[in-house]
Amino acid sequence: MAKRSKNEITVEALLRLKRSEKPPADFWDSFNDALQQRQLGDLVKSESWLVRLRRPARWIYAGFPVAATVLLVIALASPRPATSPAGESGSPQTAEETATVSKSDFMAEISRAARELSFPQSASEEVVPVETRFVMDAFAPSRDTDARFRKVMASPTFTASIQGSTRYVADPISEPHQAQSAGSRSEFSHF
């Protein structure tokens, strides 16, 4: 290898110039302050993780309501066995669907339900345990047509407000115009 002259400028010699690049004198003071703050922050962060890890019960307690809610939603969303006459036909039932029955059958059912219904005289509210049933969806008494029912997922409790004489509760699921067209005729919900 040929010897390089003393004054020859090489890549190595130029790179060595970089050794003389130095930060200003006050740089290390701010560096130390920043480092200490970051170290403290890091300690606090890692400590909080440790604290959380040491308290698994809190995670369990926090997760329990969520898990319970999820299970409840799944239970409610899963299909239930049909209890209505339409369900007995074997066709799959959804949460809400309509069924068509003849008017004579409907009137017989109304009579039977009316006999079974009894409201307490003293109490203004009473919880009645019931199951999902069909509710009347539309009914025209002047014409000899079929009545339409709508199957609903009913709440297991039913509140009936009785003030003075017997009053039927309007079916909230029915269309508003249907409820109005019923006029003086009672809109009847049978659960």
């Binding site: 004054n7 400028i9 890549v11 130029l14 790179l15 110039l17 050794r19 003389s20 690049e21 740089f27």
Partner: protein
């Protein structure tokens, strides 16, 4: 090693001593890898925090500063890979007393440029040339030419064979020569 052992036994103050002792060298490596003093300061602090966090795993197989360099280099390479560095140069001052005066003198005479202007210009060109290298080549050049580490030490820091270190150094210098042609005689 005494201070390292003390930190491992829970003496946090001993770590302050290690920071004071190695901060300039570690900062210098990272600064020359990034050519940005703000990034270099952030990454040097990060490297020290990582070192403090994992000092229990340091078994003393290598020297402490080799281990610390490895943390610093890996932290920097990781950031360079993510491309999250600042995209401009932010350079430290050149200590002209420390600068090799004969080279500056020679270049000043050759180009007819005033010395202080030449120093500034050369500093920028050197940083520019270094940034044109691949990060892995840059690490080898910085550790060998600027920090003065041996091939073996560099191979320990980088985690590759000595042959790979030599090869990277060779190709890196070829590229640097091309970039700095105007200043070479």
């Amino acid at each position: 090693m005494v201070y390292v052992r003390r930190v491992q036994e829970g003496d946090v103050a001993a770590f302050d001593y290690l920071v004071r002792r190695y901060r300039e060298r570690l900062y210098s490596v990272i600064y020359n890898l990034t050519s940005n003093r703000e990034d270099a300061a952030d990454l040097t602090q990060e490297a020290f925090i990582k070192a403090f966090r994992s000092i229990q795993r340091f078994r003393g197989n290598a020297s402490f500063f080799t281990w610390l360099y490895r943390i610093g280099v890996n932290t920097t390479l990781s950031q360079l890979k993510k491309n999250r560095m600042r995209r401009f140069f932010s350079l430290d001052n050149v200590d002209e007393e420390l600068a090799a005066s004969d080279i500056i003198e020679s270049l000043s005479m050759k180009t007819g440029t005033e010395r202080s202007i030449l120093v500034k210009e050369l500093q920028e060109k050197l940083n520019e040339a270094l940034q044109k290298l691949s990060p892995k080549q840059r690490v080898v050049v910085v550790l060998f030419e600027i920090e003065g580490l041996g091939h073996q030490e560099i191979s320990e820091v980088v985690g590759c064979s000595v042959g790979t270190v030599r090869s990277r150094l060779h190709y890196a210098k070829q590229q640097l020569q091309a970039h700095l042609q105007d200043y070479l005689q």
